[in-house]
Symmetry: C2
Subunit: 355 residues, 2 copies
């Protein structure tokens, strides 16, 4: 089994190093190979997703990704900016299913800006379609406005698109995920306004026929944003498009107040996947040794479960993370009075020890 390790920028290298440490003590013979991505890719090879990095990611059985983005790359032309690496990896690897759990560990309930009773025990799974929608839809660009009251002016435009097969396959992933949980799926759309999402809704209703054991409901995206704030624990699994999923999964992550704890998986049709923490590259704290490595370590656990068929090892890592939390160890982002402040390395070591 070959794992591509793409640390990226900012805190990426430090947190990925901890996850690698954890992988190395499992006693498995994984082959790990590292390559630069994002700003680091641009610095090394003039492109955020260098050819060799993409080739490695394609050849590997799974990709462990840190985070990308740093100040010095902010003013590059868009095609060279670090985040293009993420979009390129998703598209080239066909990673259409993004799984973003929003889980609030009971020990960390105080970190949330929401009242403990509203969020403690939160455990929802947001499934975001990741290779379609307005993210990639052609045509797009800046052109002369062809009609209407602004005819002749410049205008920016993009195309939202979802084909039937694209919706079907993400719907199957979502229904199957719901079957393994509380068997409730909320499909988030904007069918009252958008043709794309009326179509989305129709197809999801059709796929539902194959999963009669799952309770399906439909919610408009604006209402979903409200209900996440009002009563997030009412959700089990949510499925939505790329754009709405971008917004809702981040909002849901922030509800926990501990985004440094949240992993994510982006899977293709054969469960090959890219695994990354839900948080960003935090260049402001890079190199200080204070970043929280747990989201990345938990991403490695997801990798073991979904792509490497090592369910037990995944369980072991998740149990080890719970154990260090129970021991009271906390990085700065989740530190509270009465707990023990530790740095990135010490947190990684503690997980290794707990294993």
């Amino acid at each position: 089994m070959k794992i591509a390790i793409l640390p990226g920028d900012g805190i990426g290298p430090e947190i990925v190093a901890q996850a690698v440490k954890v992988l190395n003590v499992l006693g498995e013979s994984f082959e790990l190979e590292t390559a630069p991505v994002g700003g680091a890719g641009y610095a090394a090879h003039g492109h955020p997703l260098p050819e060799a990095t993409l080739a490695l990611a394609k050849a590997a059985d799974a990709v462990l990704f840190g985070a990308v983005g740093d100040y010095q790359y902010d003013n590059l032309e868009r095609q060279f900016r670090p985040e293009q690496a993420i979009l390129g990896l998703r598209k080239n690897l066909g990673l259409f299913a993004n799984l973003r759990p929003a889980i609030l560990y009971p020990e960390l309930a105080g970190a949330s800006t929401l009242k403990p009773e509203v969020v403690s025990g939160l455990d929802i799974l947001i499934i975001r379609e990741l290779t379609g929608d307005i993210y990639f839809g052609q045509p797009r660009g800046v052109r002369e406005c062809p009609d209407g009251p602004f005819k002749g002016q410049r205008e920016g435009f993009d195309t939202m698109r979802y084909a039937e097969g694209e919706i079907r396959r993400i719907a199957h992933v979502a229904f199957q995920a719901a079957q393994k949980r509380d068997k409730r799926l909320t499909s988030v759309d904007k069918a009252n306004v958008l043709e794309t999402f009326q179509f989305w809704k129709d197809i999801v209703i059709d796929v539902h026929k194959e999963y009669p054991d799952v309770a399906l409901d439909h919610m408009y995206v604006d209402n979903a944003a409200m209900q996440l704030v009002r009563a997030p624990k009412k959700f089990d699994v949510m499925v939505t498009g790329n754009m709405f999923g971008d917004i809702l999964s981040d909002a849901a992550a922030m509800l926990t107040g501990s985004i440094g704890m949240l992993p994510s998986a982006s899977l293709d049709a054969n469960n090959k996947g890219l695994y990354e923490p839900s948080h960003g590259s935090a260049p402001d704290i890079a190199g200080k040794g204070i970043a929280n490595p747990l989201a990345t370590i938990l991403s490695a656990a997801m990798m073991l479960r979904y792509s490497l068929h090592r369910e037990e090892q995944a369980d072991r890592i998740e149990a080890a993370v719970k154990k260090v939390l129970a021991q009271g160890l906390r990085t700065a982002d989740i530190h509270e009075a009465g707990t023990t402040l530790v740095g990135t390395e010490a947190m990684g070591d503690a997980v290794v020890k707990a294993l």
Copy 2:
């Protein structure tokens, strides 16, 4: 001055009746004329926005709108569904600037799902472009997928579009609103992915040159959704497109926990406007006399301020609403132990009395 009164469906008629009561005691000689809209429009004339209703709205100096939508209209074809009335009014009246304040009255801080220290005293203004973007962009529909791996399948599609002039005019509204407040404007975009919003950002930066006294910053929509949950009080004015504004303004409203208190204004280029509560038609409690009329009464105050040039009357109404809150009067949606539960009529009467 002529005001079109469009009560709509569900709780619409009861809450609008209270606002009308308030308008009637101001001692102004407004001409009020009522017409059916939404499901009520469909029931009366076979269309959610009957011709006569649209004509009245066009002829009036301002429109006071209740809410639309009720169970019996849920299965109509989309063009006949109640919410089409809102979209039709916005487009036909050129109401491109939607002002959505999210304010948390100190007395109601307990109603929020967020911790009091995170939200008490919240006072942000979200300005949402309302007649452009993917809401109205052509082409749109369901067609045969023309290219890519799903070629030949059916696909749903929509077009996101913003012309230069469209962005300029909403940017001017936003900068001017910021000038009257804390002089800080956050423009929310997705410039890292969407051509439309890279263009949006470029134009907003250009318009900023005319408002050097306002501090402008830019935030991606996913991050904005997170920051609204994490530290909403850091915002002053936010401006964004129609689709992102739909999601963010509802999320921001829900942060307050008292969406029954939040008014909104939708303005054209001459400050003619449509005023409506931020909440919906709540058909489950319609006719029970328990709905909160304050958002609608505060919408009437906004109408007096923006369209009818009666700033003082607007101030009087807002002061009266604060007074009834201070008196401890609460409708069911905001009721807590130690306060006095009142119904829709009694709340309206209390505001009239406080005037």
